[in-house]
Each structure stands twice: as C-alpha cells, then as structure tokens.
C-alpha cells in the first residue's frame, strides 16, 4: 500500500529535479551573456606565453613562400609565435572575418567576398599590395610551342586536338584545370570560343603539378590552365596561349565570358580588429611587399629543393636583409 502512494511523489520530485536541472543548464549557457562569433581564436594560440599571429596559407607554393617569410620575420625579428592554417580561399575569407585567421597575404580577387566583408560588414580591411601581379591563362609547354609556333593562338588550337587527347578527354583535346578552389572561366571559354576541348579537372594543384611534370618528362604536348607567378615555370618552361584580349568587364557574366583573364595586383587582407590593435605585427604585415623574383626564389626552395618553408625562409632572410629591414622597422 505505501508503495503506491510514494511512487507518484517520487515521480513528481524527479520531474521537479529535471526541470531545475534543465533550467540551470539553460541559465549557465545563456547566463554568461552573448558569445561573439567575430572573436574566435585558435585553442593552440598563445599556448607558450608568446603572442600569436595566425596566418592563412593557400595551397599553392607562392602563398606558402609569403607566409613562410612573414612568419619567420615575425618570430625572429618581432618575437611573435606564428600559427599557420591551410585553408581554401573562400573559407579563408570567412575565417578572416571571424578572427580565426589574422591575415591573408595573397588574394587573387574575390569581388563577392570583398563586398560582403570589407564594404558591408567591415570585419576585414585591405592590407595593401603584395607587390606581385598575378595572371591566369592557358599554357602549352615551350618545347611544343617551338615545334608548332602557331599553337600559341587560340584560333589554331583546333588543329592540335588530336595531340592533346588523353583517356579522360572523351575524344576531344584535353584542357587541364586545377583545384576546384581556383578562379576559372574555362568551361564557359571553351563553349563560347567553340573549341573542341574537354576541361578535365585535376582536382588539386598537387595532382596538376605532378601530371605536368610527368608530361614534360616524356616531352608530350599538353594544354593547361596555369598562372603566374609560379615556380614550376623554372622547371617546365611554358608558353602562354593567346586568348581574345581582356577588356574591363568582359568577364562580368560568367556564362558569356569569351576573353582572357586579367592581370591582378595581388592583395593582402587583414582582420579589421587585428589591423587596429595588432601592434607591430599588423604594421609589419601591412608593409610586407616584395617582387615576383623574390617570391619565386623562396617558392623554388620549398617545392624543388624540398626545404621546409621555415628553412627556405631562413635562407632567404639571411641573404636579403636590405629587402626586409624596412618592413620590421
């Protein structure tokens, strides 16, 4: 008999306890106020006492070279700890706006992101020119261009589709594209210029470089999407194929593009908050400015001599004090 009476009591008590627990959890979660999604640092930052700067590295070696040298100088001349995060370009912009990353050192132009973060939300600011001008284009190996000088004009590409055929190109000539993260209009270009080419995506820059080197070793003809500045030109000389000339705004509609890619002065971007109170590090990153030759020197050490980015940066820094001295002042 007592059993039946205590049971409901116990149940209600349990319910009250549960409700209290839920309420207190909610209070704990919400009670500490709003969390700021624009202030999100890495858990590995500042772990050893030093102030940390987090730099984003993109997948190409040129971007690695920038980060390596900037990182080396930040660590050895300015006493910061440097974290690097490898991430694709568009997510990197997002990370920059949230403060997970403090700076992007080489941006190839993302008008949509610029509008959203720099103009509208003001969470990112432009950090000035990197000093390097980038250019995307179609390239054939120079040994091939020497044999057939007319291949360097897009109008004559049709003659060579037979030689450009691969198992992946569905009977057409192969135009090899790279990583899905890169800016490309190639599919539209092939269609609008009525070329008998198939765009084959290598899927990553690493795969593309490996394939280019393999082709070059065999002296095989190939046609590829590629970009300057790039260290691979030192190893596999390539000649650009002339596309219809670039005019301001001719690439406005991605479906109707029928012109070459522009020449883009590459930009640096900083997290707005970091740019204001990042102290010496922010000042240094704004001043960081070098040439194509200098970038390639470091990139080549990383990619070909297989030095770690840190070692390559160290070598370059030792040789070029007059270049970087003004940056750290």
């Amino acid at each position: 008999m007592p059993e039946t009476r205590t049971l409901p009591v116990r149940r209600t008590r349990r319910r009250i306890v549960a409700a209290l627990a839920a309420a207190s959890t909610l209070a704990v979660v919400t009670g500490c106020g709003a969390a700021d999604m624009t202030r999100q640092a890495s858990p590995y930052a500042d772990a050893q006492g030093a102030k940390t700067v987090t730099l984003s590295v993109q997948s190409w070696v040129g971007a690695q070279a920038n980060t390596a040298v900037a990182g080396y100088l930040l660590e050895h001349e300015l006493g910061y700890r440097v974290d690097t995060v490898q991430v694709d370009e568009v997510p990197a912009w997002d990370a920059l706006s949230q403060g997970r990353v403090d700076a992007i050192l080489e941006d190839w132009g993302h008008p949509e992101q610029q509008k959203r973060y720099v103009e509208d939300k003001k969470t990112i600011v432009n950090g000035g020119d990197l000093g390097v001008t980038g250019h995307i284009g179609w390239f054939v190996p120079t040994y091939f261009a020497k044999q057939h000088p007319d291949v360097t004009d897009w109008k004559n590409l049709g003659k060579y589709t037979d030689q450009l055929r691969t198992p992946e190109s569905r009977g057409k000539g192969q135009l090899m594209d790279g990583s899905p993260s890169y800016v490309t209009n190639d599919k539209a270009l092939v269609k609008n210029l009525k070329l008998d080419l198939e765009v084959v995506f290598a899927g990553s820059e690493a795969a593309q470089i490996t394939q280019i080197k393999q082709f070059a070793k065999e002296k095989k003809p190939f046609l590829t999407y590629w970009y300057k500045p790039q260290w691979l030109f030192e190893r596999v000389p390539m000649t650009e194929v002339k596309l219809p000339e670039y005019k301001e705004g001719c690439d406005a509609d991605p479906e109707k593009v029928a012109c070459a890619y522009p020449h883009t002065p590459l930009q640096k971007y900083l997290n707005a908050r970091f740019a204001d109170d990042g102290g010496k590090a922010a000042g240094f990153l704004k001043k960081f400015h070098w040439t194509v030759a200098e970038q390639n020197e470091v990139a080549l050490m990383i990619a070909e001599e297989k030095l770690s980015p840190q070692q390559a940066a160290k070598k370059w820094v030792e040789r070029n004090e007059d270049v970087w001295r003004p940056w750290v002042r």
């Binding site: 997510p91 990353v101 297989k306």
Partner: protein, 684 residues
C-alpha cells in the same frame, strides 16, 4: 526497418587491428557488432543466385547502352533544383552569424566550450612535456595491456618526436581527446535511449545511418558556415562521424543483456534505474568499450579530413605537404597518425579483453603489478608521471629536442621519383603504369560509364529493383529503388552514374586482388602475419599521403582515383575473406582431404562455398569503402560527385556540396541494399 546496415566507414578504421580479438560471434568484423551474432552457416543460397544476376544485369545495361545511345538521362521535369534555397540558407547564416540570438546564445557558446576544452588538454600536454606524455602513455598501456604494449606505445611517441612532429601530434591528441570524449557521451546517451526503448531505436536508426553514410566533406561545409574554420567545426564534425558506432554498440549491449540476470535483478525488487546501473550497464560493458574504441579510430581518421577546414595538427601537416607535392613530408606526418591509431586500438582492445577475464590471484602476480594494483596504484602511476614530467622540465627538455630529429622526406621522395621514372612508361612486356591506367580507363571505365549514362533511367530503376529482390527482400529492393530515384530528383543523375561506374570498376579490382591475396593468406599463417602490418598501414594511413604517388604513377583522371580506392578498401576485404576461409569447419576440410581432394579442389568445392557469408560481406564492404574514397578521388581528377563535394567546400557553395553529398548517400544506400548479405535482411 529493413536491417542493420553495415555502416559505411566503420570497418575502415575499426577492423584494422581487430583481428587480434575476433568480435563476439567470431565470424565477421562488422564493428557495429550486430552482424557477428548472426550465425553464418545456414545460408540457403548458391553463389550463382547472386553473382549471375549481377553479371546479366551488367551485360544488359552495356548492350542497351550501345543499342540506344542518348536515350538515358533523367527527365528534367522530375528534378528539383535546390541551389536557390540552399544558397539563400548559406547567405542567411553568414549575414546573421554575428547578430542572431541563435548564434550569440547557442552556437557561440558551443564553439567556446570546445575551444576552451581543447586548449585545456593541449596546455596540459605541453606542460607534461615529452617526458611526461611518453611516461603516461607507457604506464597506461602497461596497466591495461602489459609490458609489450607499454614499450610499443613509448616507442611510438618517441617516433613522433623523432620525425619532428611532436607539437602537431600533441595538437591532434588534444583535439582527439575532446572529440572522442564528446562522441562517447553523445553516442552513449543515444545508445542508452535506443537500448531502453525500441521505439526510440526505430526513430534513431535512419538518423545514425545517414550520419555514417554522408561523406564527411559534405557536412564540413555547413559546420564551417556555422562555426567558421578551425577546431570547433572539426571537433563537431568528428562527433557526427564517431558517435554512431558508439550509439549502436551501447544499444546492442543493453538489448542483449542476459535475460536471466535481469529477471533475477527484477525479482530481487530492483527498480528500473537500479537494474540499469547494476545489471544492464555492467553487462554491456564490453560492447561499450568496443564503442569507445571505434570512436577513437574514427576520430583519428577524421583528424586528417578535418585539416581541410583548418583543424591544425598532424592532418594539417599532411595537407600542407600535399600542396608542395612533397610525399616525404606527408609521410612524416602520416606515420604518427598510423602509430597513434595502432597504439590506441591495441590498448583499448587489451582493456576489453581484460574485462572478461578474472585477474590472477594476488600472490601469483608480479611484484610490480601488485604495487601498482588498485586505486592507490592508479595514484602511484599518476605521481610517477608527474615526477617524470617535472624531471623532464628540470632538465630543460619539455619540448622534443631539436637535435633528436631524423628527416624522412628526402629518401622517400627519391624512392617516389625512382618509381615514377621507371614504372610510368616503357616497362618491357607488361607496359608502364600509364598504359595500364589508359587501358583500365578505356576498356573498363568508359564502357561502364557510357553504358550506364546511355541506358534509360526507368530501366536502371527496374534493374536495381530486380537485383534488390533477388538479393534481399522486397523492402530492401524498394529502398534501393527509392535511393536511386532520389538521385535523379536531386538533379545529379549523370555525375552520379559516372561515380557509380568508377565505384563498380574499383570494386571489381578490389575483389579480384582481395580474394587472390586472402586465399594465399588463409593457407599460410606466416603470410598472414607478414600481411597484417601492411594492412594496418593501408587502413590508417591518411589517403592524402598517397595521392601524389598514385597521380605520378597513373596520371590525372579516374584511374588514380580507383587506385586510391583499392588501396583503402583492400585491407577490409582481405581481412574478412581470410577470416571466413579460415573458419570453415575443420571437419569438412578434413573429410575433403581424406577423400583425396587436391588443394584447388578443396578451395573451390569446400572452402569457398562454406565461406560464402564472409565473401558476401566482403563484397558489401568493398562497395561501401570504395564509395567512401570517392571524394578523395575528386582531388586527383576523378570528377563527378567527389569533385562537386570538394568544389562546394572550396567555393563555400552550400548547394553544390550538399546536393552531391546527398547523392553519395543515396548511392551508398542503394549499393548497400543490393549487396547486403541476405542473412541479415532475412533476420531483421
């Protein structure tokens, strides 16, 4: 509900060194623990019933494709374009992330909690220094598994340091500790709910299925949109990935608890909660521990994938090495991942094995063991570790000393260069790897793809339905057909069929190689012993490490993608098949031998037929694991759905990525249902 799905990615990580301890039922390595209980010996099927229809189906498809070119493709009227709403959803998140209460009061705090916990673990690990961490690893392994494993795990940590990977290893470890703890809690709670209430279980099962089949890349993007790149998104993605096996195993343990014991507990007047805490949970201990082990292994395999969204640590090193086409450096970061996986797995295994056995009498134990037994033993261990850590710090070597590093990169890169120089083309008689790749693409992939893409959509649906009925039940057939139809509705019919053709071709290669290897391994214990570490490495080595070598050997395209998939799926197939062949009833083998059957007769007429359940499971696993590598294939020119998922992530394009991810889920579901060994479907 049709059946217990054999989860897509589990065996990848799980079955790795599992062979030291056959799971409960002994016949199958399916780690969700459901299949091992199914007795495999009463299968009324003949091989022909399953293989023949597939062969016929393939023949019909190819013929039709040749006869009616261009009749394929899904009708546009039946497709739904999701890019509009999904794109808007992505934009909404980005625009409201800094202001909406949902983010300010919920996601923001979740993110902060994750960051704070990972940071706490990381700081402790750094404070312990390499001496402390290594000592701790050794002592824990020693307590749980004995001296041999203790030495192994200390050596493993030393190797991480030697390779110059100490800091990244600690970062990965910190991330793993938090992610695995969260997975165990989440999975445990879900499992508790599912184990106690059949209704909850029915609701949860499709959710868990989706969590496991959905390729990680596809949900990385929503995670990134909500949490931004970095550790919180990585940890939460890992939880999504690693919690399901924990939930499944916990539920299984609870459901299978010995009825007699529960009866006894009930008759003693125990309340529901008492019964749960004192009888059911302790009885389910083994399964729960296996679940934790699974969570660890899956978490580690996620560590690399998560590097794509900036999780840092070892995965990031592998990924950065990939960017500079540096196989040696990628390997140097990949080895610690393999070592961590092997050490953690073996330790958890040993702990699981100890649970069942009785400890030997105190007097028989070794002196040291007696000293370290019990709770004060644990305390003693902790003190010892602290002492070692402090000693390390006092000697000024909390970081791994720079002078104790070896560089692996150069010899490895030389080896890779030699391989590509000498094997790519112009090898006499057999031809170079480039020729093989071209032939594989031209003779197998292309006809398959054009056949599939050219055959009418309704015919493919019919075909899948027919195979489903032949293999399983009507219900499985219906699921498979609906899954395939969903792909059409999503508007990715053509790329999905392209992916399907790649999966089928890669599975064919995997099975041929896998069966050949396992027949050898099943005959010679020595061969199997030699094979085991190779298989361990194949399964736990991050695929990013071998992407460059496969491209260097096979060129850009679908062939290297298939090669990567074969490397990944082969170990599971070899393990399952070898075990299946081994466990063939010895009496049957003996009688065959006594009747004078030759080796090949024994194999064909006794071993293979009797091992059929294992072979079927191997087929299923091959399909499902190959599909898991489809995304990676997108990085080497595989194109199709894998590329779309990568593209979605790289361009922050929610629609492309999620739709392609969903299509992969549907493909997985369809393939799983039409290859699922019939025992499971029958019993479900």
């Amino acid at each position: 509900m049709t059946s217990t799905t054999t989860p897509v990615r589990e065996p990848a990580s799980s079955s790795a060194p599992r062979d030291t301890k056959p799971p409960t039922g002994g016949s199958s390595p399916s780690p969700d623990g459901s299949s091992p209980r199914r007795p495999g010996s009463r299968l009324p099927f003949r091989v022909g019933r399953r293989v023949l229809p597939l062969a016929v189906a393939a023949a019909v498809v190819v013929t039709l494709g040749v006869l009616f070119p261009g009749a394929g493709s899904w009708p546009g009227a039946l497709a739904v374009d999701l890019s509009g709403p999904l794109g808007r959803a992505g934009d909404w998140i980005i625009d409201h992330r800094d202001s909406h209460p949902l983010f300010l009061y919920f996601f923001g705090h979740v993110s902060n909690v994750v960051v704070v916990s990972v940071r706490a673990v990381y700081v402790v690990l750094l404070a312990a220094g390499w001496t402390g961490v290594t000592a701790l690893a050794g002592l824990v392994a020693w307590r749980l598994a004995g001296v041999r494993l203790a030495l192994t795990s200390m050596a493993a940590f030393a190797v991480c340091g030697l390779l110059g990977m100490w800091i990244p290893t600690m970062q990965t470890l910190a991330l793993m500790v938090v992610a695995v703890a969260a997975s165990v809690v989440v999975g445990g709670l879900l499992g508790l709910a599912a184990g106690l209430s059949p209704r909850t279980e029915r609701i949860l099962r499709p959710v868990l299925d989706t969590m496991q089949i959905l390729p990680a890349f596809a949900y990385l993007l929503p995670m990134v949109l909500v949490f931004g790149i970095g550790v919180p998104a990585a940890v939460l993605a890992t939880v999504v990935y690693a919690a399901p096996p924990m939930a499944r195993l916990t539920a299984l343990g609870l459901r299978d608890a010995d009825a007699g014991v529960l009866e006894a507990a009930a008759s003693l007047g125990a309340t529901g909660r008492q019964r749960l805490l004192t009888a059911r949970l302790p009885l389910a201990r083994r399964q729960i521990l296996l679940g934790i082990n699974q969570a660890i292994m899956m978490g580690l395999s996620m560590a690399v994938i998560a590097s794509v969204i900036g999780a840092g640590g070892l995965g990031d090193r592998v990924y950065q090495a990939l960017a500079s086409v540096d196989v040696g450096a990628a390997l140097a970061a990949g080895i610690p991942i393999v070592l961590l996986a092997v050490v953690l797995d073996r330790t958890a295994d040993a702990a699981g094995a100890r649970l069942g056995s009785h400890p030997p009498q105190a007097a028989e134990q070794h002196f040291l063991r007696r000293v370290f037994a019990g709770w004060y033993g644990r305390l003693l261990c902790l003190l010892a570790v602290v002492a070692v850590a402090v000693a390390g710090r006092m000697l000024g070597t909390s970081q791994w000393p720079d002078s104790w590093k070896v560089s692996l990169a150069e010899p490895v890169n030389r080896a890779v260069a030699w391989m590509t120089d000498h094997l790519y083309s112009g090898v006499p008689v057999v031809g170079g790897t480039a020729d093989w790749a071209a032939r594989f693409t031209g003779w197998l992939l292309d006809p398959l793809r054009s056949g599939l893409q050219a055959s009418p959509w309704w015919l493919l649906l019919l075909l899948v339905g027919a195979i489903g009925v032949l293999v399983g039940t009507r219900r499985t057939a219906l699921t498979a057909v609906l899954a395939l139809a969903a792909i059409g509705v999503l508007g990715v019919w053509e790329p999905a069929l392209d992916t399907l053709s790649q999966v089928l071709a890669a599975v064919a290669v995997t099975l041929v190689l896998g069966f050949a290897i396992s027949i050898g391994a099943a005959r010679s214990a020595r061969a199997e012993r030699l094979l085991r570490p190779v298989l361990d490495v194949c399964q736990t080595m991050p695929q990013f490490v071998y992407l460059i070598p496969v491209v260097a050997l096979f060129g850009v395209g679908r062939a290297p993608a298939a090669a990567a998939a074969v490397v990944y799926a082969l170990p599971a197939v070899v393990r399952i098949t070898t075990q299946g062949l081994r466990e063939v009833n010895p009496a049957a083998m003996e009688s065959a031998r006594s009747l004078g059957a030759t080796g090949s007769q024994q194999l064909r007429q006794v071993q293979l037929p009797l091992a059929r359940p294992a072979l079927l499971l191997a087929v299923n696993q091959a399909v499902v694991l190959v599909l898991a590598v489809v995304i990676i294939g997108g990085l080497v020119g595989g194109g199709a759905l894998g590329y779309d998922v990568v593209l979605g992530l790289a361009q922050g394009d929610l629609a492309t990525g999620l739709v392609a991810g969903a299509a992969i889920v549907c493909l997985g579901l369809m393939l799983d249902r039409v290859t699922q060994p019939a025992t499971k479907t029958k019993e479900a």
